[in-house]
Assembly symmetry: C2
Homo-oligomer: 379 residues x 2
């Protein structure tokens, strides 16, 4: 299977149905992108797929999409790429199996920015909130994003006015990685007042991401569909300010449905913009956080809940994400079996079996009678 064919097929598939197209995604998973695209093009597909692709299947805008994307400095990242954020997006597959309707993985993502999308989405935190934010909200959105940036935690948001913009700016001020996930194409120039901000983010090692083909204008329903990607691409979502009906609450509830961490910032009880946050906390749908360290503690970040500028280098810093995950799944005092470690780490059993001997060679793990344990000096 030619990599270019795959990319072309996925670009076609992204355009042929409005996301999230669960039936189409399932069809692609079954047949592979190239065969699926061919069959959709010919109308040779099950009725539910036909129904959602009927209107656009005749359009062949793939070449044009790539040309427009290149003009905007964007590329198409596909699940077959190494940089695909497979681990965070796995939450969508798992939630879909649990019957969460909106949990449909993207078929591919248009990305502006040189950063690897997988690296940007590694242990990232979403900072979201209302457009009609107060000074209090914007101030703290910027402060929290700054604090995350300083600690090397990528900050995702939606590029909207209000909390989103303040979060991106705060992360930029810390020279942190910050990523905007849009409800329109990466070249849509929306919101107009944030075009320069988005350019600055891309230039500073961040990214602008969208599953919508070049030229797609913003739309209300697209913001809601986009919210699932902000939730899925991060470990946790912090709602800074939200009215009782804010879209940020939608991101929060999606994050919760995906099994991600949901956090909310409290504020004055007299502020309608904190009312949504207070509801989330009161109903135990979000954990209250009042400092950046609490954010890191809540998402369960390993060893970064401190000021990294003063932190001595850890030996585990050089482990890849899967190796680190495997290492973290080891107990210090008791042996664990391969399958226990797989369950604990969330990694496939065969991957765990490959990684454990590597961890042993590197001095992180010891083989015991009943399985594996952490090597003490490594902690």
């Amino acid at each position: 299977m030619n990599a270019d064919d795959v990319r072309q097929a996925r670009a076609y598939l992204l355009r042929v149905a409005e996301p999230p197209a669960a039936a189409l995604v399932a069809f692609v998973a079954e047949h592979g992108p190239v065969a699926a695209a061919g069959r959709v093009r010919r109308g040779d597909c099950p009725p539910d797929v036909l129904k959602v692709t009927e209107a656009r299947r005749g359009f062949d805008l793939v070449a044009q999409d790539f040309a427009r994307a290149a003009e905007a400095g964007a590329r198409l990242v596909v699940p077959e790429d190494d940089e695909w954020p497979a681990w965070p997006l796995l939450a969508l597959d798992l939630a879909a199996r649990r019957g969460v309707a909106e949990a449909v993985p993207p078929l591919a993502l248009w990305v502006s920015g040189e950063v690897s999308l997988g690296a940007a989405a590694d242990r990232a935190v979403a900072v979201v909130g209302a457009r009609a934010a107060t000074e209090y909200g914007e101030h703290h959105a910027a402060e929290f994003a700054y604090g995350l940036g300083v600690r090397g935690v990528p900050v995702f948001s939606g590029a909207a006015y209000g909390i989103d913009g303040a979060a991106h700016r705060g992360a930029l001020a810390a020279s942190g990685v910050t990523v905007a996930v849009l409800g329109c194409a990466v070249d849509a120039g929306y919101p107009a007042g944030h075009v320069a901000l988005l350019k600055r983010m891309v230039g500073a090692g961040g990214a602008v991401v969208s599953e919508y083909p070049p030229g797609t204008p913003p739309a209300r329903h697209r913001f809601l569909v986009r919210n699932r990607l902000i939730a899925a691409l991060t470990e946790g979502t912090l709602v800074v300010e939200a009215g009782r009906r804010s879209g940020a609450r939608n991101t929060a509830s999606t994050a919760g449905a995906l099994g991600k961490v949901v956090m909310a910032l409290p504020g004055p009880v007299s502020s309608g913009m904190s009312a949504g946050c207070h509801d989330l906390i009161r109903d135990a749908r979000a954990t209250l956080v009042s400092t950046v360290d609490e954010v890191l503690e809540t998402v369960g970040h390993f060893g970064i809940a401190e000021d990294t500028t003063r932190r001595p280098k850890r030996r585990t810093d050089r482990l890849g994400p899967e190796a680190l995950r495997t290492f973290e799944a080891l107990a210090v005092r008791t042996d664990r079996s391969d399958s226990e470690i797989a369950a604990e780490s969330g990694l496939p059993l065969r991957r765990v079996r490959a990684l454990l001997p590597e961890l042993e060679l590197d001095g992180f793990a010891v083989r015991g009678e009943a399985g594996w344990r952490r090597r003490k000096e490594s902690a």
Copy 2:
């Protein structure tokens, strides 16, 4: 047993050991107040009781205590009185059995104010917080207490400057019942700036309560000991503002240990005076509340989470507290046995057995094959 003898004995016992004197309370429970007082006076008691009473057992200040109390308009309320708040204070006994060290019931309480202490403590809410409160905290303490007062919910607090004072004033403004529980005698004139406020509370149908004999000056440890009474005499405690080491957190943790509802008001994350509240909420030791209705919902008040001024009279309004409790313990669709109802209501079995036929006569309960159920038209 003469009622005066009991009152005299308990006045003596209150003075003979510094509360909370667990060994003495147990001794009194075993032998009754009159016999226990006699034996303590003679030094004829177990070593642990002797130890805590040795220093003061020779003092006979009972007549003087009653004279000073009368001068201050106070009376001694004892467990043998009908107005004794036995139900709320039961939490202390239950917690003591679970091993909560500070959960020692008071031997009696000095009370200024004509209100029945039992009535004042019926479904009351404590509103507490830091002395060094902010304008935000004082404003909301007063607002919440006002809202509770309007809805007929008694407000308890500790008469300190800051949040406590604001809470008492707010309840007064609503012509609500408000009760101060002191860490000194009711006649100690403390805090000096609140003497007029305390007098106003007593005059307006509220009360000032203390387990310390007349003349006892305030002391740091007495405030902590007093906090258990604020927690015990109410259904729930709302912490309005608290620094990370505030005494209000002590009241909150005691309330939690007693199985009472703990609530906290959120505030700006930049405010050190909200930090204690945020910690309580974050650690799930308190429920976030941002409105008075949420307070009532959280303490589980039956039918008063609305504006009582617009509420039509309920038939159950005329039930006494124990009858109401028994009624609430009935299910609508299934029969419950006497002992199930006793367990559910927290009332003694013999009391439940006496009340059920009364509820039947009044049309609130029906006798079924397997026990009792609620009569439908009564809901």
